[in-house]
Symmetry: C2
Subunit: 298 residues, 2 copies
Amino acid sequence: MTYNMDRLYEAVEAKGHVCVGLDTATEYIPPVEFRRAPSQAAAVLAYNSALIDATLDLAACYKVQIACYEELGLAGLETYAGTLRYIRERGGLVIADIKRGDIADTAARYAKAHFAGDFEADFVTLSPYMGMDSIEPWLSWAETAGKGAFVLMRTSNPGMRDFEYRELKSGGHLYDAVGDRLGELAAAHPGRYGYGAFGAVVGCTEREEAAAIRSKRSSLFFLIPGYGAQGGAADDAALLLRKGNGGVVNASRSILRAWMAEVHSNAAAANADNRVAAEAARNAAAAMRDAIWAAVRK
Amino acid sequence: MTYNMDRLYEAVEAKGHVCVGLDTATEYIPPVEFRRAPSQAAAVLAYNSALIDATLDLAACYKVQIACYEELGLAGLETYAGTLRYIRERGGLVIADIKRGDIADTAARYAKAHFAGDFEADFVTLSPYMGMDSIEPWLSWAETAGKGAFVLMRTSNPGMRDFEYRELKSGGHLYDAVGDRLGELAAAHPGRYGYGAFGAVVGCTEREEAAAIRSKRSSLFFLIPGYGAQGGAADDAALLLRKGNGGVVNASRSILRAWMAEVHSNAAAANADNRVAAEAARNAAAAMRDAIWAAVRK
Protein backbone atom coordinates (compact mmCIF):
# COMPACT_ATOMS: atom_id res chain seq x y z
CA MET A 1 0.00 0.00 0.00
CA THR A 2 1.26 3.44 -0.93
CA TYR A 3 0.01 5.68 1.82
CA ASN A 4 -1.08 9.20 1.02
CA MET A 5 1.60 10.19 3.54
CA ASP A 6 4.18 8.70 1.16
CA ARG A 7 2.70 10.72 -1.70
CA LEU A 8 2.87 13.83 0.48
CA TYR A 9 6.55 13.15 1.25
CA GLU A 10 7.20 12.91 -2.49
CA ALA A 11 5.25 16.13 -3.12
CA VAL A 12 7.46 17.92 -0.59
CA GLU A 13 10.58 16.62 -2.34
CA ALA A 14 9.27 17.87 -5.68
CA LYS A 15 7.53 21.12 -4.74
CA GLY A 16 8.56 22.27 -1.27
CA HIS A 17 6.72 22.49 2.04
CA VAL A 18 3.82 24.83 1.39
CA CYS A 19 0.32 23.71 2.36
CA VAL A 20 -2.13 26.26 0.94
CA GLY A 21 -4.89 26.72 3.49
CA LEU A 22 -8.20 27.33 1.75
CA ASP A 23 -9.89 28.85 4.80
CA THR A 24 -11.79 30.95 2.34
CA ALA A 25 -13.81 33.56 4.17
CA THR A 26 -16.12 35.54 1.90
CA GLU A 27 -14.40 38.76 2.95
CA TYR A 28 -11.20 37.62 1.18
CA ILE A 29 -12.85 37.53 -2.24
CA PRO A 30 -12.52 40.50 -4.61
CA PRO A 31 -15.79 42.47 -4.59
CA VAL A 32 -15.88 42.38 -8.42
CA GLU A 33 -16.20 38.60 -8.30
CA PHE A 34 -19.03 38.74 -5.81
CA ARG A 35 -21.04 40.85 -8.16
CA ARG A 36 -20.44 38.33 -10.95
CA ALA A 37 -21.25 35.16 -9.02
CA PRO A 38 -24.81 33.82 -8.67
CA SER A 39 -24.28 33.18 -4.92
CA GLN A 40 -21.75 33.56 -2.12
CA ALA A 41 -21.02 29.86 -2.27
CA ALA A 42 -20.43 30.00 -6.02
CA ALA A 43 -18.08 32.95 -5.55
CA VAL A 44 -16.04 30.94 -3.03
CA LEU A 45 -15.72 28.02 -5.44
CA ALA A 46 -14.64 30.29 -8.30
CA TYR A 47 -12.06 31.94 -6.06
CA ASN A 48 -10.71 28.62 -4.77
CA SER A 49 -10.49 27.20 -8.29
CA ALA A 50 -8.49 30.19 -9.49
CA LEU A 51 -6.07 29.90 -6.56
CA ILE A 52 -5.69 26.14 -6.98
CA ASP A 53 -4.87 26.52 -10.69
CA ALA A 54 -2.27 29.15 -9.82
CA THR A 55 -0.52 27.16 -7.07
CA LEU A 56 -0.76 23.51 -8.11
CA ASP A 57 2.89 23.28 -9.17
CA LEU A 58 4.25 24.80 -5.98
CA ALA A 59 1.88 23.59 -3.24
CA ALA A 60 2.73 20.24 -1.63
CA CYS A 61 -0.92 20.04 -0.66
CA TYR A 62 -4.02 22.01 0.27
CA LYS A 63 -5.88 22.20 3.55
CA VAL A 64 -9.57 23.07 3.49
CA GLN A 65 -11.03 24.39 6.74
CA ILE A 66 -14.61 23.09 6.74
CA ALA A 67 -15.81 25.79 9.19
CA CYS A 68 -15.54 28.45 6.47
CA TYR A 69 -17.96 26.41 4.34
CA GLU A 70 -20.34 25.29 7.10
CA GLU A 71 -20.74 28.97 7.89
CA LEU A 72 -22.57 29.30 4.55
CA GLY A 73 -24.91 26.38 5.28
CA LEU A 74 -25.83 23.70 2.77
CA ALA A 75 -24.70 25.77 -0.21
CA GLY A 76 -21.35 26.24 1.51
CA LEU A 77 -20.92 22.51 1.93
CA GLU A 78 -21.57 22.02 -1.78
CA THR A 79 -18.70 24.43 -2.37
CA TYR A 80 -16.61 22.48 0.15
CA ALA A 81 -17.27 19.26 -1.76
CA GLY A 82 -16.56 21.02 -5.06
CA THR A 83 -13.26 22.38 -3.76
CA LEU A 84 -12.05 18.95 -2.62
CA ARG A 85 -13.07 17.48 -5.97
CA TYR A 86 -11.34 20.27 -7.92
CA ILE A 87 -8.05 19.62 -6.13
CA ARG A 88 -8.18 15.83 -6.39
CA GLU A 89 -9.18 15.82 -10.07
CA ARG A 90 -6.03 17.82 -10.79
CA GLY A 91 -3.81 15.38 -8.90
CA GLY A 92 -3.39 17.58 -5.84
CA LEU A 93 -3.47 16.26 -2.28
CA VAL A 94 -6.03 17.68 0.12
CA ILE A 95 -6.34 17.70 3.88
CA ALA A 96 -9.90 18.08 5.21
CA ASP A 97 -9.43 20.22 8.31
CA ILE A 98 -12.34 18.84 10.30
CA LYS A 99 -10.74 18.00 13.68
CA ARG A 100 -13.18 15.19 14.40
CA GLY A 101 -13.02 13.08 17.54
CA ASP A 102 -15.84 10.81 18.68
CA ILE A 103 -16.52 7.29 19.95
CA ALA A 104 -15.60 4.33 17.79
CA ASP A 105 -18.99 3.72 16.10
CA THR A 106 -19.29 7.38 15.27
CA ALA A 107 -15.66 7.64 14.16
CA ALA A 108 -16.30 4.85 11.64
CA ARG A 109 -19.22 6.86 10.21
CA TYR A 110 -17.17 10.04 10.08
CA ALA A 111 -14.37 8.15 8.31
CA LYS A 112 -16.78 6.98 5.65
CA ALA A 113 -18.08 10.55 5.31
CA HIS A 114 -14.64 12.10 4.76
CA PHE A 115 -12.72 9.30 3.04
CA ALA A 116 -15.41 8.45 0.46
CA GLY A 117 -18.39 10.02 -1.26
CA ASP A 118 -19.17 13.72 -1.63
CA PHE A 119 -16.56 14.83 0.91
CA GLU A 120 -13.70 12.50 -0.01
CA ALA A 121 -10.32 13.89 1.04
CA ASP A 122 -6.81 12.41 1.10
CA PHE A 123 -6.20 13.34 4.73
CA VAL A 124 -8.21 14.57 7.70
CA THR A 125 -7.33 16.28 10.96
CA LEU A 126 -8.44 14.57 14.18
CA SER A 127 -8.72 15.58 17.83
CA PRO A 128 -7.43 13.08 20.43
CA TYR A 129 -9.29 14.16 23.60
CA MET A 130 -11.59 11.11 23.75
CA GLY A 131 -8.73 8.65 23.31
CA MET A 132 -7.30 6.24 20.80
CA ASP A 133 -10.57 4.41 20.12
CA SER A 134 -11.70 7.66 18.50
CA ILE A 135 -8.63 7.56 16.19
CA GLU A 136 -8.29 3.88 15.34
CA PRO A 137 -11.44 3.45 13.17
CA TRP A 138 -9.93 5.95 10.72
CA LEU A 139 -6.82 3.79 10.37
CA SER A 140 -8.59 0.97 8.54
CA TRP A 141 -8.87 3.47 5.66
CA ALA A 142 -5.08 3.80 5.64
CA GLU A 143 -4.86 0.06 5.19
CA THR A 144 -7.48 -0.19 2.44
CA ALA A 145 -7.25 3.14 0.62
CA GLY A 146 -3.99 4.75 1.75
CA LYS A 147 -5.82 7.54 3.56
CA GLY A 148 -4.00 9.68 6.11
CA ALA A 149 -4.64 11.83 9.16
CA PHE A 150 -2.97 14.45 11.28
CA VAL A 151 -3.89 14.24 14.94
CA LEU A 152 -3.77 17.37 17.07
CA MET A 153 -0.69 17.19 19.27
CA ARG A 154 0.58 20.67 20.08
CA THR A 155 -1.34 23.40 18.30
CA SER A 156 -0.43 27.01 17.53
CA ASN A 157 -3.15 28.93 19.41
CA PRO A 158 -2.57 30.65 22.77
CA GLY A 159 -5.13 28.31 24.40
CA MET A 160 -2.82 25.31 23.87
CA ARG A 161 -1.40 26.23 27.29
CA ASP A 162 -4.72 25.33 28.96
CA PHE A 163 -4.65 21.56 28.46
CA GLU A 164 -2.10 20.44 25.83
CA TYR A 165 0.73 21.85 27.95
CA ARG A 166 -0.45 20.45 31.25
CA GLU A 167 2.29 18.47 32.95
CA LEU A 168 1.44 14.88 33.75
CA LYS A 169 2.21 13.14 37.00
CA SER A 170 3.92 10.40 34.98
CA GLY A 171 6.20 12.98 33.33
CA GLY A 172 5.99 15.13 30.22
CA HIS A 173 3.07 17.16 28.96
CA LEU A 174 -0.31 15.99 27.75
CA TYR A 175 0.91 16.58 24.19
CA ASP A 176 3.82 14.20 24.88
CA ALA A 177 1.37 11.49 25.91
CA VAL A 178 -0.51 12.05 22.65
CA GLY A 179 2.77 11.94 20.74
CA ASP A 180 3.71 8.63 22.38
CA ARG A 181 0.48 7.00 21.24
CA LEU A 182 0.82 8.43 17.74
CA GLY A 183 4.34 7.01 17.58
CA GLU A 184 2.86 3.57 18.30
CA LEU A 185 0.40 4.00 15.43
CA ALA A 186 3.20 5.07 13.09
CA ALA A 187 5.27 2.03 14.05
CA ALA A 188 2.31 -0.22 13.22
CA HIS A 189 1.69 1.50 9.86
CA PRO A 190 5.12 2.49 8.54
CA GLY A 191 5.37 4.18 5.17
CA ARG A 192 8.17 4.09 2.59
CA TYR A 193 10.12 7.05 3.86
CA GLY A 194 10.18 6.49 7.60
CA TYR A 195 6.90 8.26 8.35
CA GLY A 196 3.74 6.46 9.47
CA ALA A 197 0.39 6.63 7.69
CA PHE A 198 -0.90 9.04 10.36
CA GLY A 199 1.01 12.11 11.51
CA ALA A 200 0.54 14.99 13.95
CA VAL A 201 -0.38 18.65 14.05
CA VAL A 202 2.50 20.60 15.63
CA GLY A 203 2.45 24.40 15.48
CA CYS A 204 5.54 26.47 14.73
CA THR A 205 4.73 29.23 17.19
CA GLU A 206 6.79 27.82 20.10
CA ARG A 207 10.42 27.85 19.10
CA GLU A 208 11.94 26.46 22.28
CA GLU A 209 10.71 22.86 22.14
CA ALA A 210 10.64 22.53 18.36
CA ALA A 211 13.96 20.72 17.88
CA ALA A 212 13.24 18.37 20.79
CA ILE A 213 9.78 17.50 19.43
CA ARG A 214 11.16 16.88 15.95
CA SER A 215 13.93 14.56 17.14
CA LYS A 216 11.66 12.66 19.52
CA ARG A 217 8.91 12.13 16.92
CA SER A 218 11.00 10.98 14.00
CA SER A 219 8.26 8.70 12.61
CA LEU A 220 5.56 11.40 12.54
CA PHE A 221 5.00 13.59 9.53
CA PHE A 222 3.89 17.01 10.76
CA LEU A 223 1.18 19.35 9.61
CA ILE A 224 2.57 22.67 10.83
CA PRO A 225 0.15 25.56 11.42
CA GLY A 226 1.00 28.96 12.85
CA TYR A 227 3.09 30.35 9.98
CA GLY A 228 2.66 33.98 8.94
CA ALA A 229 -0.47 35.57 10.37
CA GLN A 230 -0.15 33.48 13.56
CA GLY A 231 3.45 34.57 14.16
CA GLY A 232 5.64 31.67 13.05
CA ALA A 233 8.57 32.31 10.68
CA ALA A 234 10.45 30.12 8.20
CA ASP A 235 13.21 29.48 10.76
CA ASP A 236 10.64 28.26 13.30
CA ALA A 237 9.01 25.96 10.77
CA ALA A 238 12.39 24.57 9.66
CA LEU A 239 13.06 23.37 13.22
CA LEU A 240 10.07 21.03 12.82
CA LEU A 241 11.39 19.55 9.57
CA ARG A 242 13.89 16.71 9.23
CA LYS A 243 16.40 16.23 6.42
CA GLY A 244 14.43 18.78 4.44
CA ASN A 245 11.19 16.83 4.64
CA GLY A 246 8.85 15.43 7.32
CA GLY A 247 6.31 18.23 7.34
CA VAL A 248 4.16 20.67 5.44
CA VAL A 249 3.71 24.24 6.61
CA ASN A 250 0.25 25.68 6.34
CA ALA A 251 -0.49 29.29 5.48
CA SER A 252 -3.99 30.53 4.87
CA ARG A 253 -4.54 34.24 5.29
CA SER A 254 -1.11 35.32 4.00
CA ILE A 255 -1.83 33.52 0.72
CA LEU A 256 -5.60 34.04 0.41
CA ARG A 257 -5.34 37.76 1.15
CA ALA A 258 -2.07 38.41 -0.68
CA TRP A 259 -3.93 40.35 -3.38
CA MET A 260 -5.11 42.89 -0.78
CA ALA A 261 -1.52 43.62 0.20
CA GLU A 262 -0.41 43.94 -3.43
CA VAL A 263 -3.21 46.25 -4.45
CA HIS A 264 -2.15 49.69 -3.26
CA SER A 265 -4.90 52.09 -4.20
CA ASN A 266 -8.58 51.71 -3.41
CA ALA A 267 -9.43 52.08 -7.09
CA ALA A 268 -7.15 49.14 -7.95
CA ALA A 269 -8.71 47.05 -5.15
CA ALA A 270 -12.17 47.79 -6.49
CA ASN A 271 -11.11 46.46 -9.90
CA ALA A 272 -9.12 43.43 -8.72
CA ASP A 273 -10.52 40.11 -9.80
CA ASN A 274 -9.68 36.45 -9.26
CA ARG A 275 -6.90 36.66 -11.81
CA VAL A 276 -5.20 39.32 -9.68
CA ALA A 277 -5.88 37.35 -6.48
CA ALA A 278 -4.53 34.13 -7.95
CA GLU A 279 -1.35 35.80 -9.19
CA ALA A 280 -0.77 37.36 -5.78
CA ALA A 281 -1.45 34.02 -4.06
CA ARG A 282 1.07 32.33 -6.36
CA ASN A 283 3.70 34.93 -5.55
CA ALA A 284 3.05 34.63 -1.81
CA ALA A 285 3.19 30.82 -1.90
CA ALA A 286 6.41 30.88 -3.98
CA ALA A 287 8.04 33.35 -1.58
CA MET A 288 7.03 31.17 1.36
CA ARG A 289 8.37 28.05 -0.32
CA ASP A 290 11.69 29.77 -1.01
CA ALA A 291 11.92 31.16 2.55
CA ILE A 292 11.41 27.69 4.06
CA TRP A 293 13.93 26.08 1.69
CA ALA A 294 16.45 28.78 2.60
CA ALA A 295 15.82 28.19 6.33
CA VAL A 296 16.18 24.43 5.90
CA ARG A 297 19.51 24.83 4.08
CA LYS A 298 21.01 27.19 6.68
CA MET B 1 -31.41 36.55 28.94
CA THR B 2 -33.11 33.19 29.31
CA TYR B 3 -30.47 30.68 28.42
CA ASN B 4 -31.39 27.54 26.57
CA MET B 5 -29.87 25.76 29.57
CA ASP B 6 -32.68 27.29 31.68
CA ARG B 7 -35.22 26.02 29.18
CA LEU B 8 -33.63 22.59 29.36
CA TYR B 9 -33.85 22.63 33.16
CA GLU B 10 -37.55 23.43 32.86
CA ALA B 11 -38.03 20.67 30.29
CA VAL B 12 -36.49 18.17 32.71
CA GLU B 13 -38.87 19.34 35.45
CA ALA B 14 -41.83 18.87 33.13
CA LYS B 15 -40.88 15.79 31.16
CA GLY B 16 -38.03 13.92 32.82
CA HIS B 17 -34.41 13.35 31.86
CA VAL B 18 -34.52 11.57 28.53
CA CYS B 19 -32.47 12.95 25.66
CA VAL B 20 -33.47 11.06 22.53
CA GLY B 21 -30.34 10.53 20.46
CA LEU B 22 -31.13 10.68 16.76
CA ASP B 23 -27.96 8.90 15.66
CA THR B 24 -30.06 7.54 12.85
CA ALA B 25 -28.09 4.94 10.93
CA THR B 26 -29.86 3.74 7.80
CA GLU B 27 -29.77 0.17 9.15
CA TYR B 28 -32.21 1.17 11.93
CA ILE B 29 -34.98 2.09 9.50
CA PRO B 30 -37.72 -0.44 8.69
CA PRO B 31 -37.07 -1.94 5.23
CA VAL B 32 -40.66 -1.15 4.20
CA GLU B 33 -39.96 2.56 4.57
CA PHE B 34 -36.81 2.35 2.50
CA ARG B 35 -38.77 0.98 -0.39
CA ARG B 36 -41.25 3.86 -0.09
CA ALA B 37 -38.76 6.72 0.19
CA PRO B 38 -37.23 8.44 -2.85
CA SER B 39 -33.74 8.33 -1.28
CA GLN B 40 -31.83 7.11 1.77
CA ALA B 41 -31.67 10.66 3.10
CA ALA B 42 -35.43 11.10 2.66
CA ALA B 43 -36.04 7.82 4.51
CA VAL B 44 -33.96 9.06 7.44
CA LEU B 45 -35.93 12.30 7.65
CA ALA B 46 -39.27 10.46 7.55
CA TYR B 47 -38.08 8.10 10.28
CA ASN B 48 -36.78 10.92 12.48
CA SER B 49 -40.00 12.91 12.04
CA ALA B 50 -42.11 9.94 13.11
CA LEU B 51 -39.96 9.36 16.21
CA ILE B 52 -39.96 13.05 17.13
CA ASP B 53 -43.76 13.24 16.89
CA ALA B 54 -44.03 10.17 19.12
CA THR B 55 -41.63 11.39 21.83
CA LEU B 56 -42.07 15.15 21.97
CA ASP B 57 -44.08 15.09 25.21
CA LEU B 58 -41.61 12.86 27.06
CA ALA B 59 -38.20 13.87 25.73
CA ALA B 60 -36.46 16.72 27.54
CA CYS B 61 -34.47 17.24 24.35
CA TYR B 62 -32.99 15.56 21.28
CA LYS B 63 -29.39 15.05 20.33
CA VAL B 64 -28.53 14.71 16.66
CA GLN B 65 -25.21 13.05 15.85
CA ILE B 66 -24.01 14.79 12.70
CA ALA B 67 -21.72 11.88 11.70
CA CYS B 68 -24.75 9.76 10.79
CA TYR B 69 -25.80 12.43 8.31
CA GLU B 70 -22.37 13.35 6.95
CA GLU B 71 -21.99 9.68 6.11
CA LEU B 72 -24.70 10.21 3.46
CA GLY B 73 -22.95 13.24 1.96
CA LEU B 74 -24.72 16.43 0.92
CA ALA B 75 -28.15 14.78 0.85
CA GLY B 76 -27.52 13.57 4.40
CA LEU B 77 -26.75 17.07 5.58
CA GLU B 78 -30.02 18.28 4.09
CA THR B 79 -31.71 15.67 6.25
CA TYR B 80 -29.63 16.82 9.21
CA ALA B 81 -30.84 20.40 8.68
CA GLY B 82 -34.40 19.16 8.19
CA THR B 83 -34.28 17.17 11.43
CA LEU B 84 -33.08 20.14 13.47
CA ARG B 85 -35.77 22.31 11.91
CA TYR B 86 -38.48 19.72 12.56
CA ILE B 87 -37.61 19.58 16.26
CA ARG B 88 -37.31 23.33 16.73
CA GLU B 89 -40.54 24.14 14.85
CA ARG B 90 -42.38 21.88 17.31
CA GLY B 91 -40.90 23.64 20.33
CA GLY B 92 -38.39 20.89 21.12
CA LEU B 93 -34.81 21.55 22.18
CA VAL B 94 -32.01 20.09 20.12
CA ILE B 95 -28.34 19.44 20.78
CA ALA B 96 -26.13 19.31 17.67
CA ASP B 97 -23.61 16.61 18.53
CA ILE B 98 -20.71 18.02 16.52
CA LYS B 99 -17.81 17.99 19.05
CA ARG B 100 -16.08 20.94 17.42
CA GLY B 101 -12.86 22.42 18.75
CA ASP B 102 -10.67 24.81 16.77
CA ILE B 103 -8.79 28.11 17.05
CA ALA B 104 -10.71 31.26 17.90
CA ASP B 105 -11.29 32.61 14.37
CA THR B 106 -12.49 29.23 13.22
CA ALA B 107 -14.59 28.69 16.33
CA ALA B 108 -16.43 31.93 15.58
CA ARG B 109 -17.24 30.63 12.07
CA TYR B 110 -18.37 27.28 13.43
CA ALA B 111 -20.60 29.04 15.97
CA LYS B 112 -22.28 31.00 13.20
CA ALA B 113 -22.72 27.74 11.25
CA HIS B 114 -24.41 25.86 14.11
CA PHE B 115 -26.22 28.63 15.99
CA ALA B 116 -27.80 30.29 12.93
CA GLY B 117 -28.81 29.47 9.38
CA ASP B 118 -29.44 26.03 7.89
CA PHE B 119 -27.89 24.14 10.81
CA GLU B 120 -29.28 26.19 13.71
CA ALA B 121 -29.40 24.20 16.94
CA ASP B 122 -30.14 25.15 20.56
CA PHE B 123 -26.98 23.51 21.90
CA VAL B 124 -23.77 22.07 20.53
CA THR B 125 -21.16 19.71 21.90
CA LEU B 126 -17.54 20.95 21.97
CA SER B 127 -14.13 19.35 22.46
CA PRO B 128 -11.67 21.14 24.80
CA TYR B 129 -8.29 19.78 23.65
CA MET B 130 -7.09 23.04 22.04
CA GLY B 131 -7.99 25.15 25.08
CA MET B 132 -10.45 27.75 26.23
CA ASP B 133 -9.92 30.09 23.28
CA SER B 134 -11.59 27.34 21.21
CA ILE B 135 -14.63 27.45 23.54
CA GLU B 136 -15.04 31.15 24.30
CA PRO B 137 -16.16 32.37 20.84
CA TRP B 138 -19.25 30.18 21.20
CA LEU B 139 -20.16 31.93 24.46
CA SER B 140 -21.01 35.23 22.80
CA TRP B 141 -24.00 33.34 21.36
CA ALA B 142 -25.14 32.52 24.89
CA GLU B 143 -25.14 36.22 25.65
CA THR B 144 -26.98 37.30 22.51
CA ALA B 145 -29.22 34.34 21.69
CA GLY B 146 -29.28 32.14 24.78
CA LYS B 147 -27.42 29.34 23.00
CA GLY B 148 -25.81 26.56 25.02
CA ALA B 149 -23.02 24.02 24.79
CA PHE B 150 -21.82 20.84 26.45
CA VAL B 151 -18.05 20.53 26.56
CA LEU B 152 -16.47 17.08 26.66
CA MET B 153 -15.23 16.46 30.17
CA ARG B 154 -15.29 12.74 30.96
CA THR B 155 -16.81 10.66 28.20
CA SER B 156 -18.28 7.15 28.22
CA ASN B 157 -16.00 5.30 25.77
CA PRO B 158 -13.18 2.96 26.87
CA GLY B 159 -10.61 5.31 25.28
CA MET B 160 -11.36 8.00 27.87
CA ARG B 161 -8.61 6.31 29.92
CA ASP B 162 -5.98 7.34 27.36
CA PHE B 163 -5.98 11.09 27.97
CA GLU B 164 -9.03 12.32 29.92
CA TYR B 165 -8.01 10.18 32.90
CA ARG B 166 -4.35 11.11 32.89
CA GLU B 167 -3.26 12.39 36.29
CA LEU B 168 -1.77 15.85 36.31
CA LYS B 169 1.35 16.88 38.20
CA SER B 170 -0.69 19.66 39.79
CA GLY B 171 -3.26 17.14 41.06
CA GLY B 172 -6.43 15.62 39.68
CA HIS B 173 -7.06 14.25 36.22
CA LEU B 174 -7.13 16.07 32.91
CA TYR B 175 -10.92 15.96 33.07
CA ASP B 176 -10.76 17.76 36.44
CA ALA B 177 -8.73 20.55 34.85
CA VAL B 178 -11.38 20.84 32.13
CA GLY B 179 -14.12 20.85 34.78
CA ASP B 180 -12.36 23.66 36.68
CA ARG B 181 -12.30 25.87 33.59
CA LEU B 182 -15.93 25.06 32.76
CA GLY B 183 -16.88 26.00 36.33
CA GLU B 184 -15.32 29.42 35.71
CA LEU B 185 -17.41 29.84 32.56
CA ALA B 186 -20.56 28.84 34.43
CA ALA B 187 -19.82 31.37 37.19
CA ALA B 188 -19.49 34.10 34.56
CA HIS B 189 -22.74 33.09 32.81
CA PRO B 190 -25.08 31.90 35.57
CA GLY B 191 -28.57 30.82 34.64
CA ARG B 192 -31.79 31.00 36.65
CA TYR B 193 -31.55 27.63 38.31
CA GLY B 194 -27.93 27.51 39.42
CA TYR B 195 -26.55 26.08 36.17
CA GLY B 196 -24.36 28.05 33.78
CA ALA B 197 -25.12 28.66 30.13
CA PHE B 198 -22.53 26.01 29.15
CA GLY B 199 -22.42 22.55 30.71
CA ALA B 200 -20.35 19.39 30.39
CA VAL B 201 -20.48 15.91 28.89
CA VAL B 202 -20.07 13.34 31.68
CA GLY B 203 -20.71 9.67 30.92
CA CYS B 204 -22.56 7.36 33.28
CA THR B 205 -20.35 4.35 32.64
CA GLU B 206 -17.97 4.94 35.59
CA ARG B 207 -19.92 4.61 38.77
CA GLU B 208 -17.15 5.16 41.30
CA GLU B 209 -16.47 8.87 40.74
CA ALA B 210 -20.00 9.89 39.76
CA ALA B 211 -21.15 11.29 43.10
CA ALA B 212 -17.87 13.17 43.58
CA ILE B 213 -18.05 14.71 40.10
CA ARG B 214 -21.67 15.75 40.63
CA SER B 215 -21.02 17.44 43.99
CA LYS B 216 -17.86 19.16 42.79
CA ARG B 217 -19.48 20.51 39.61
CA SER B 218 -22.69 21.87 41.03
CA SER B 219 -22.93 24.70 38.48
CA LEU B 220 -22.60 22.45 35.43
CA PHE B 221 -25.61 20.91 33.73
CA PHE B 222 -24.59 17.52 32.40
CA LEU B 223 -25.24 15.80 29.09
CA ILE B 224 -24.90 12.17 30.14
CA PRO B 225 -24.04 9.57 27.48
CA GLY B 226 -23.40 5.87 28.05
CA TYR B 227 -26.90 4.76 29.06
CA GLY B 228 -28.26 1.47 27.72
CA ALA B 229 -26.23 0.08 24.83
CA GLN B 230 -23.00 1.51 26.31
CA GLY B 231 -23.61 -0.14 29.70
CA GLY B 232 -24.88 2.59 32.03
CA ALA B 233 -28.04 1.98 34.08
CA ALA B 234 -30.61 4.32 35.63
CA ASP B 235 -28.88 4.12 39.02
CA ASP B 236 -25.58 5.20 37.45
CA ALA B 237 -27.23 8.10 35.67
CA ALA B 238 -29.04 9.20 38.84
CA LEU B 239 -25.68 9.66 40.59
CA LEU B 240 -24.90 12.40 38.07
CA LEU B 241 -28.15 14.26 38.75
CA ARG B 242 -28.80 16.76 41.53
CA LYS B 243 -32.11 17.40 43.30
CA GLY B 244 -33.79 15.52 40.46
CA ASN B 245 -32.42 17.82 37.79
CA GLY B 246 -29.04 19.00 36.51
CA GLY B 247 -28.69 16.60 33.62
CA VAL B 248 -30.21 14.86 30.63
CA VAL B 249 -29.45 11.24 29.87
CA ASN B 250 -28.92 10.32 26.25
CA ALA B 251 -30.02 7.07 24.69
CA SER B 252 -29.78 6.46 20.99
CA ARG B 253 -29.72 2.83 19.90
CA SER B 254 -32.05 1.55 22.65
CA ILE B 255 -34.73 3.99 21.44
CA LEU B 256 -34.03 4.04 17.69
CA ARG B 257 -33.89 0.25 17.47
CA ALA B 258 -36.63 -0.50 19.99
CA TRP B 259 -38.93 -1.67 17.18
CA MET B 260 -36.48 -4.42 16.27
CA ALA B 261 -36.64 -5.80 19.81
CA GLU B 262 -40.43 -5.62 19.87
CA VAL B 263 -40.93 -7.32 16.54
CA HIS B 264 -40.56 -11.02 17.24
CA SER B 265 -41.00 -12.85 13.96
CA ASN B 266 -39.18 -12.09 10.73
CA ALA B 267 -42.48 -11.70 8.95
CA ALA B 268 -43.55 -8.99 11.40
CA ALA B 269 -40.19 -7.23 11.01
CA ALA B 270 -40.60 -7.25 7.25
CA ASN B 271 -43.96 -5.51 7.62
CA ALA B 272 -43.00 -3.03 10.36
CA ASP B 273 -43.18 0.59 9.33
CA ASN B 274 -42.38 3.96 10.91
CA ARG B 275 -45.65 3.83 12.88
CA VAL B 276 -44.46 0.64 14.57
CA ALA B 277 -40.95 2.06 15.07
CA ALA B 278 -42.31 5.29 16.56
CA GLU B 279 -44.59 3.46 18.96
CA ALA B 280 -41.71 1.25 20.11
CA ALA B 281 -39.45 4.29 20.51
CA ARG B 282 -42.11 6.01 22.60
CA ASN B 283 -42.43 2.97 24.85
CA ALA B 284 -38.66 2.69 25.24
CA ALA B 285 -38.29 6.40 26.04
CA ALA B 286 -41.16 6.28 28.56
CA ALA B 287 -39.66 3.23 30.28
CA MET B 288 -36.29 4.96 30.46
CA ARG B 289 -37.85 8.14 31.86
CA ASP B 290 -39.66 6.13 34.52
CA ALA B 291 -36.56 4.13 35.42
CA ILE B 292 -34.50 7.28 35.92
CA TRP B 293 -37.24 8.95 37.99
CA ALA B 294 -37.44 5.81 40.13
CA ALA B 295 -33.65 5.82 40.61
CA VAL B 296 -33.65 9.53 41.50
CA ARG B 297 -36.35 9.00 44.13
CA LYS B 298 -34.65 6.03 45.80
